[in-house]
């Protein structure tokens, strides 16, 4: 029963978005524009390789893009008072969380699927395809963390007066460890050589970090969404 409600909610969010495509288009444009800005902002004297910074650039862009998406995912609910109606239904709060989190994860994923090849093309032409599975795994795990943490905090932030101003303030400090791990691992994977064993360590950290916030979300979402 919970699974059916979950699927229904995810489908609802996706359909709503597909009809207007506002959020996804905005996130995508933001990501591409950011890449262009980075190209000019980080012009290295002598034309040296930017690969050292690639991981960082990628994740800065993804995190801020995610913030855009997170803000929008609840703004609609709040404006149309959909949230109150949803809470009246006998749905397990955790199901709501999982549905919202999945929606955010999918949006983020869509952006990344398009943005990452472009990014690699612009900034990491020497990356080897052999590393792709590892990179995809890393991105998936990091996305999970961003989506979990972001959905949990967005739920709280959206119900305050400050709304989208508050979310970056509470989200970014907690996202920093995630970004550090993901960025350094991505840099290593996108570069020519690199110590792959260190990447495994980063992956493990991201996994643990995800787990912690998933547990926290599970434990506190009832209260966060306002019962």
């Amino acid at each position: 029963m919970g699974a059916r409600q979950y699927r229904a909610m995810v489908r609802k969010d996706l359909l709503t978005e597909l009809r207007t495509r506002e959020t996804v288009v905005a996130m995508f444009l933001f990501v591409v524009l950011a890449m262009v800005v980075f190209h000019y902002a980080f012009t290295v004297a002598g034309g040296g390789p930017l690969s050292f910074y690639t991981g960082g650039m990628v994740w800065v862009v993804f995190v801020f893009g995610a913030l855009l998406g997170l803000n929008r995912s609840f703004a609609h609910e709040k404006d149309e008072n959909v949230l109150d109606g949803l809470l009246l239904c006998p749905v397990d709060r955790v199901t709501i969380f999982l549905a919202k989190m999945t929606g955010n994860l999918i949006f983020l994923g869509i952006i990344q699927v398009v943005a990452l090849p472009v990014f690699a093309l612009f900034f990491a032409p020497q990356a080897s395809v052999a590393r792709l599975p590892a990179l995809l795994g890393l991105i998936l795990l990091a996305d999970l963390g961003i989506a979990t943490l972001g959905t949990l905090l967005a739920t709280i932030a959206m119900q305050t007066r400050a709304r989208d101003l508050l979310l970056p303030i509470v989200f970014l400090p907690l996202a920093i460890p995630l970004v550090i791990a993901a960025a350094s691992a991505t840099s290593t994977l996108l570069s020519a050589g690199g110590d792959v064993s260190a990447v495994l360590g980063r992956l493990a950290f991201v996994l643990v970090y995800d787990g912690i916030f998933l547990v926290l979300a599970y434990g506190t979402y009832d209260v966060a969404i306002g019962e």
Binding site: I156, Q159, T160, A162, L174, T220, V223
Partner: protein
């Protein structure tokens, strides 16, 4: 420092005896003594550091205890938050606010002493090394606690969201604590490693005295803050009775 309200208003106002002022003063006095002792041992008894840090190492006797106390404060905020979420007693919310405020105060001091120490030891005012960076993040994070509170009008919702945030934010504390141990930054000396303290016994003594002193100082300041909250409660109650 704070008198029982009963004596002031002839017994009509509820007897809300605030935290006993004599105890608070005693705690603060003891803290002062311990901190002075830490300095005495550190400067007169302990030897000057033989490593590249040299005399600047002496900043450590307060810098490290302040850091530990800041994290302790956030821990207290975490416990208060959990208790508030389970029991809904507004006193836990007030405890949480006081703890976070003091945590930020101590964190700020970690940054200040850390920056000065960094300038003395490494020649630069800022370095992206574990302790400075993680405490900067903690400062930013817990500042968000007050931004969050400011954005909610309803009192009970404010307390609930603040408590939620204090619980979530606490994830950062273990990371901050272990950052100097696990991140191989090289610059920052690891104090208490797995093989026991690598410190001279006299340095250790000064450090422990400093730690005890700072902890007591935190407890004393916390009691002061809670006493203020109790006074504010009394004031609200009196105003209510006067108007009602």
């Amino acid at each position: 420092m704070v008198e029982s309200a009963a004596t002031v208003a002839g017994g009509r106002v509820s007897d809300r005896t605030a935290l006993a002022p004599a105890t608070t003063t005693a705690i603060l006095a003891l803290a002062g003594v311990l901190l002075a002792a830490a300095l005495a041992v550190g400067f007169w008894v302990a030897p000057t550091d033989a490593s590249t840090l040299g005399f600047s190492q002496k900043i450590f006797y307060f810098h490290a205890p302040i850091a530990e106390t800041a994290l302790l404060a956030y821990g207290v905020a975490f416990v208060a938050a959990v208790l508030y979420l389970r029991r809904g007693d507004a006193r836990y919310d007030r405890l949480g606010v006081a703890a976070v405020r003091l945590g930020l105060l101590f964190s700020l001091l970690v940054m200040v002493t850390g920056v000065i120490w960094g300038r003395a030891a490494w020649g630069v005012w800022w370095a992206w090394e574990p302790r400075l960076t993680t405490f900067l993040i903690a400062c930013l994070l817990y500042s968000g606690y007050f931004v969050l509170r400011g954005a909610v009008e309803d009192e009970s919702r404010r307390a609930t969201y603040a408590a939620l945030f204090a619980v979530i934010a606490f994830v950062d504390v273990p990371i901050t604590f272990f950052a100097t141990r696990f991140l191989p930054e090289g610059l920052h000396p690891v104090v208490l490693g797995p093989s026991g303290s690598g410190m001279d016994a006299r340095d250790l003594l000064a450090f422990l005295a400093g730690l005890a002193g700072m902890t007591l100082l935190f407890v004393g300041l916390l009691r002061l803050e809670l006493g203020i909250e109790a006074l504010r409660e009394e004031l609200r109650e009196l105003k209510y009775r006067l108007e009602g």
